[in-house]
């Protein structure tokens, strides 16, 4: 396997893909949003329970490639317990990682996604669940689609 491809399919990603964390609908959710990537057919629903400004619980459901499933799974582990502002910042960091390949400043599993930047067509796969989560947080419930923002 080429260096690029093994960067894309890192162990962290394969692990989250095989054993997704926080998958399914949480019954106590008070926010949710749907995201889709119309070109691929990938789908992602994010459910969360917001406690004040803090994400008390979060889960996802959906279908898609290993990158999108692992990204959604990892995202739930990263966002749990964060405030809205912290979540927005984390997404900014994640976005930079997947578009530039830059490693995160502090050691973090997000770094597993640095290999995505060499596969521009897959950036959408990695960011889909994040878009849905941010929409759910912003509470506008609008469906997220990777077609209207360029990543």
């Amino acid at each position: 396997m080429s260096a690029d491809l093994s960067d894309l399919y890192q162990n962290v990603i394969l692990d989250h893909n095989r054993r997704p964390r926080n998958r399914g609908r949480i019954p106590t959710a008070n926010r949710s949003a749907h995201g889709d990537n119309p070109s691929c057919g990938d789908q992602c629903d994010v459910f969360l329970r917001l406690d004040g400004d803090r994400i008390a619980e979060i889960s996802f459901d959906g279908s898609g490639c290993a990158i999108s499933q692992a990204s959604a799974s990892l995202m739930t582990t990263q966002l749990k317990g964060k405030t809205t502002a912290e979540a927005e910042n984390l997404y900014k960091e994640f976005h930079e990682i997947v578009t530039t390949g830059k490693e995160p400043e502090e050691i973090s599993d997000l770094g597993a996604f640095a290999g995505v930047h060499a596969f521009p067509a897959r950036i959408k796969c990695a960011t889909l669940s994040w878009h849905a989560a941010l929409n759910a947080l912003r509470g506008d419930g609008a469906p997220a689609t990777t077609e209207s923002h360029k990543d």
Binding site: Y9, L14, G41, C65, A66
Partner: protein, 408 residues
Amino acid sequence: MPSPWDNIRDQFPILDQKVNGHPLVYLDNAATTQKPLAVTRALDRFYANDNANVHRGLHALSMRSTDGYEGARARVQAFVNAEAPEEIIFTRGTTESINLVAASWGSANLRKGDVVLLTEMEHHSNLVPWQMAAQRTGATVRYVPVTGDQGLLDLGALDKLLTPEVKLFAFTHVSNTLGTINPAADLCARARKLGIVTVVDAAQSIGHMPLDVRAIGCDFLAFSGHKMASVTGIGVLYGRRALLDAMPPWQGGGGMISSVDFSGSRWKPSPERFEAGTPNFADAIALGASCDFLDLLGREQIRLHDGGLAKEARDRLAELPGIRIIGPDGERGGLVSFAFEGVHAHDVVTFADEDGIALRGGHHCNQPLMKKLGLTSTVRASFYVYNERREIDALVASMARTIKFFAG
């Protein structure tokens, strides 16, 4: 005697390249085929010698252009065995051809209570235009069911669905996802008995097998040049002349009116009525060259070649663990779709690309069918005249490697 098949890959210089260090294995032909030198050179020659706007031109280049363009129409007419060149309308492709019928014939003929009958295996391009026409006119869309993974039309259900409210029946000749070859002549005969207008989506058949609109007995037939060894930007709507002449124009503009004043216009007959503005005459001429190229190879031989490779690929892939193969066990068009338990199609395609193999993964513009099959996507390998057996070896090896990786 040398056969045009002998050095066929020399006609396709694009195939002679490495992708990720491996020789390119192009198996995405159902999305678009590659173009032989015979076609791209015809295009170059036209631009280097004869280019001028067609019609209304009395100078030498314009007359040559017009002859070339109308010659291409006559060539396509012969290729599909239409009765008259006026039955051949040049469009951008299958999608535009179907939109033309849905907009023009649809607006003139569909009413509230009417039914447009489709099948569950239609490409979005033969589905969405009818949903839109139905919405505009108050008609309803119904679907002939597809029977499970074998992907055949339920012909028993068809006869029940061919009720008096059905005004039009549109179906694909060959499914771009299943590979199913529908019995087009039989379907048209059943519809015609009831006076139902038929539309055949020939996008996946035109370049791969003999095709005769009179033998099929359809009223309309649509296809794209880019899927039959021709260039992008050109396609065809065949329509029976009696129907075309009764249809209102769709787009307005230069070339399609017989007179205009500030208060209104009169239309020319077909095909001009449906070709508003400067047509894509250069690419139409290239399409004529593609017809020559395919006839030289022999369309029956192409059918055997492409279908044979697809069948062989199917049989060999079927031995892989965890694979689910979609489409008929029997005769199929030149493609095979499949899915692996626990590995998403996009990951498969990305791994194949590492091996230089071009596949398509996704819903193939066939979302409703995917839902019905309980899939979100499949991997598709599709074959054309330049593909070879050894490329099936490469495909199977790559698939084996991928499932092994994901099985971990």
